[in-house]
Symmetry: C2
Subunit: 682 residues, 2 copies
């Protein structure tokens, strides 16, 4: 795919001499950004542009071309693409709109283009996009004119499903005077999708940080697998969270794991950083433009007491620690701060007397403090008066930050006429407030920890997943009977209390004799969904006599006699098939944690034992299984294994739409777990 | 206090001809901002400044003066203030630092100044502050030079405990080209505090929106009372949230109601809007510069599909509804959108063809749509090309917004060279992203609802509160015995199960006979805190025999025999004395909601029955008392009354540091509540 971003020759199809022609802008952009390769223009009216001939037909260009860019009406694309295929062109950008985004009647055009590309082995961007930008070599293909004066080359690449968002991010980012590497507007994703671009950018030398804007996820597992394979930070906005999910509400899982919760969990699982708006994306880019934050210890310097207090609040909010400064450091600070009013704490209020050398040196010494992982300097400078010297401070922050490989966060609020002057003083990121900066800094720390954790643990692979066809199960879709469900659990060594399926009272008595009392009697009629509410469950049956009584009035024509589980902690394990990420597993403390609080942890299946442990630790009520208020200590080993096995079951049975194991009783240490009740909808 | 902000004559003390003299800047500011009143300068070296005589002594000024401003070393202030008092000056601003903020040894200076001011009935600002600004009449007193070119007069007034924060807010706000009314840097608050300024600003005609930055709260109840008396929005940053609270951890209340949670709850209770950073404060000011949002129905217009999707996500996040547009409206939009690619939904993607008249008219018609309460236009304009016409769109938005008295939110992301140009096109607020704008818009809607609710309900008064001295109780501070606690609850008609205090088994049997079985036996030894863990509680004792058995091994030398409460829902009621807001009451669902989830609702006591209802509705597990999963419906009337009574108890017993009623059992409808266990630390 490198040829797409590093072509030696480009053909632009759809160029004319007419001043309003949009194809001209593509040519103009390539010239403005000094594209050095060969450039061929094609347009049916022919003519000349900027000293270049406009060929009337693609066939007239008789040299080898790496990349073709189309900006001609959609109906002409299939034929033109066919010609390019014949010519041996393997990469295309289709900027034209007018495909199925116009409505279903254009779906035929989609199919034609996809088919032709497949036949000629062409990979293409779009259609319906503002296309790609590579600032490294001037491959700037959008049909709107861009200004090289405001776009610097740098380490950030960005892929978006919306041209408007590409524009907005590009503008916000270049307003910060920070550099762009490759920007991609994917359009309708008929051929190349976010995963293809992500794979390329992970291997791309010039790209250090990757941003994605997605409205839908093409293949969630591939996305996860790619992100987990790379140390580069991947920051994602996944929008379109507002789509009502219409799943079957009688399963807890449906209500608990909405599509958006699954997205958040899946991204977190592989260390992708999800943010929720453009400014957060920009702040994350800025943070990753600095060395990573490698621990929680922060030094806060400030020129105003109020801002020091607010920075300390924010630091606590995002989990940073402000450890005391050393006596040496404080001695220097005391000497340097002329006003003498400062309190010798971290955060350190330096007073408002401007002294560049003192500020520089305090910053420097703070970075040298033992255990300090980063420095935040909230720098409320005086407009006009301090502007020139402030630029020197910015340069010092940049130099120190690189030298010590620790992030230095500069926060300042200039007047409007100096706002961008400060940001454009150099290519060092400037923040406005400590709050935003520290929120971003917590992403940097998370990223560092993710990378370290990956080194010590085998990497989970997220293999592509295809749901099994329904016919494999030989049954109509619907709720499975409890016998089938328990049998499936047993196949995966998920412990279930001994049980027998029975038709009537006599069989029940025989079974109970074998299983041993106390037993539970449950209706096994899959039509009875809310068993408990309908009187379909009798618990703690102690003998034959009670068993006979229990049969009075219990609904259904098949029944389950089951040994009562021992005393323990009740938890919930669920599963569902997510359209974007395939099978996912859910875990929560039982009872109201799940029913009233909707509190569950979600991960994409299958999971490792370590991930199972993280799920248990992450659940809100998870203080319980560790032994709560004098209660018994629970068998966490067994619980972890149960989670791993359920996740494997879900992964290998893609026909399962939803699974509830509720409750799973976790017995005392060494005694295992028991799946007391379970339902499957497939 | 009007004379402080609207003086007819000002005397500045501490002026000299020396170029570096800071007092000169005060005089210069007054001239720059065209202060029209009399101005007298005083400085011990005498001389002349800008054609005005500098008097060597205050006494030389022999006319009436409304306001004196001091910028002389702290040790000279007492004498100077004394002279001013004699001269009949009643308002002063002390900008000088060097009081107790330097350290305890200067506390004597504080006391002197306070005493002199009291004697002469002088109200003063500061010391240690950058003082006050009133743009209405040019009373601009800071000792740093300000630029009238960047400060417009408008409806926002701001009070801060930190000069740095005043500067930052002033800069951020004037960068938006929006107008300032009065800005106050309070300094050390030796005389006037935030409540005094708030009271004045509430009565001040020019002030429509009030911002506060507080690091501590001087008198929380007065703050609440003032805010509740006004329809003007009050937006607060309360920082310094990071102070470790060292209360007695064995009471739930201590862990549940940290000082910062109390602040948030107290502010919310009277409709003060708490925000957490400067940008949120600015966004709130911007929103209150527009008409209030009077309902949840929002129309979203966008020039990019991606931004439409993100705006819809944000709208859902902040509780807004995007109702479908009318057929008439859609017909117009369909006709006007030339590209024909738009989907006819709310959010409406207008396509990116710029057409000012169409955009204007769509905005106009959206405002006319039935039921629409506000319009958001996410307007990703093209730099350079659309800049001039965009200004017309901003003007149209301003005009429509005023005419229809509905907020119009314009979001745009210009290039850096047009960023402030757009913001300075007129005095209409411009937002960057829908996310921030809609977060602020939800504050506007909350404010509208608060004001409407106030009209239909009697206003709660938050009377000043002085904690009762410990000697009133005639006891040493500590944990009260259960007998005392239950007696106190009964005094306030908070129902408790019948009980008797007994010394031994014989008395217990006698008591149980009267009370009736089943009973509980509890140790009444106040030294036994964790009764349950230490085996100090025996429940469900059915007869004399069991009662005798229960006495085996129960610790203590005094005991409580108590009738078992009926079956019901267990909830938690707590109380504590907060240093800033006085007695507060807590409510939460019992059990793990309180113990594992720390989930409680807090309000400042006393509360009304309506507020009690809001507490019950607000608690996270509050689905329970309304009848959960076929459970009994609880007696909510009784619960509300209980809350009101406990709040009155707390208010009238200021010696109570902490109170736990846990559990309070709420019985079935019509059957009331029962406080089963209660503890008080006072």
């Amino acid at each position: 795919m490198k040829k797409l971003f590093y072509p030696e020759s480009i053909m632009v199809v759809g160029v004319s001499e007419t001043p309003t022609n949009l194809g001209r802008n593509i040519v103009e952009n390539l010239d403005r950004f000094h594209f050095k390769g060969q450039l061929y223009l094609v347009g049916m009216e022919g003519g000349n542009l900027n000293g270049r001939k406009i060929h009337a037909r693609i066939e007239e260009v008789d040299t080898k071309v790496d990349l073709v860019v189309f900006l001609i009406p959609a109906p002409f694309i299939p034929e033109a693409l066919e010609v390019c295929g014949k010519k041996g062109i393997r990469y295309a950008v289709i900027e034209s709109g007018g495909f199925s985004e116009f409505g279903g009647e254009n779906r035929r055009l989609d199919e034609q283009v996809v088919e032709i590309a497949k036949r000629w082995n062409i990979r293409f961007v779009g259609p319906n996009c503002i296309s790609i930008i590579n600032l490294e070599n001037g491959v700037v293909l959008p049909f709107v004119l861009l200004d090289p004066g405001v776009l610097a080359t740098g380490p950030v690449s960005f892929v978006a499903q919306s041209g408007g968002i590409v524009n907005s991010i590009l503008r916000l980012w270049s307003n910060e005077n920070l550099g762009v590497n490759k920007f991609i507007s994917m359009g309708n994703k008929l051929n190349l999708d976010e995963n293809d671009y992500l794979e390329f950018l992970i291997s791309d030398q010039g790209t250090k940080t990757i941003g994605l804007y997605l409205e839908s996820v093409s293949n969630g597992r591939r996305l996860m697998d790619l992100a987990a394979s790379s140390q580069k930070p991947v920051v994602v906005i996944k929008s379109n969270t507002n789509t009502a999910s219409n799943q079957i509400a009688r399963f807890h899982t449906a209500a608990l794991a909405g599509d958006d919760e699954v997205v958040s969990s899946a991204l977190r699982q592989v260390g992708i950083h999800r943010v929720h708006n453009l400014q957060e994306m920009i702040n994350a880019f800025k943070i990753f433009d600095l060395p990573l934050m490698k621990g929680p210890n922060l030094a806060v310097l400030s020129r105003s007491g109020g801002s020091a207090v607010m920075a300390a609040d924010s630091a606590a909010r995002y989990g940073f620690r402000l450890q005391p400064f050393s006596e040496d450091f404080l001695q220097y600070a005391r000497k340097g701060a002329r006003a003498g009013v400062i309190q010798m704490t971290n955060p350190l209020d330096l007073g408002d007397m401007f002294d560049l050398e003192f500020y520089r040196e305090v910053m420097h010494r703070a970075l040298q403090e033992e255990g300090i992982d980063g420095v935040l300097f909230s720098y409320a400078y005086l407009s006009g008066i301090d502007a020139m010297t402030t630029k020197h401070l910015i340069l010092a922050a940049k130099e120190f930050s690189h030298f010590y490989q620790k992030p230095v966060i500069l926060c300042m609020i200039p007047n409007f006429d100096e706002w961008f002057m400060m940001r454009r003083a150099t290519d060092f990121p400037i923040f406005t407030e400590p709050e935003d900066a520290l929120k971003a800094l917590s992403i940097s720390l998370t990223h560092y920890r993710t990378i370290v954790a990956r080194e010590s643990h085998p990497r989970t692979r997220f293999e592509p997943f295809t749901p099994k066809a329904q016919e494999n199960t030989g049954r109509l879709p619907g709720i499975q009977g409890p016998g089938e469900v328990f049998e499936l659990l047993r196949q995966y060594e998920i412990p279930v209390p001994a049980y027998r399926l029975v038709k009537d009272h006599e069989e029940a008595v025989q079974s109970a004799k074998i299983i041993g009392y106390p037993v539970a009697l449950k209706t096994a009629d899959s039509r009875v969904v809310h068993k408990t509410e309908l009187g379909g469950v009798r618990l703690n049956i102690g003998d034959h006599h009670e068993l006979k009584e229990a049969f009075q009035g219990i609904p259904g024509d098949r029944f389950l006699v089951q040994r009562m589980a021992g005393a323990g902690h009740e938890v919930f394990i669920g599963g569902k098939y997510d359209p974007e990420f395939g099978p996912v597993i859910l875990f929560g403390m039982g009872g109201i944690f799940v029913e009233a609080l909707n509190d569950v942890i979600i991960q994409v299946a299958p999971i490792t034992e370590r991930e199972a442990g993280e799920m248990i630790d992450g659940a809100r009520g998870s203080v319980l299984p560790k032994g709560f208020r004098g209660g018994i200590k629970a068998d966490l080993d067994a619980l972890r294994q149960c989670l791993v096995r359920v996740s494997r079951l879900l992964y290998e049975h893609g026909e399962i739409q939803q699974l509830d194991i509720n409750p799973l009783v976790v017995l005392a240490e060494g005694q295992g777990c028991q799946a007391v009740d379970a339902r499957i909808f497939s």
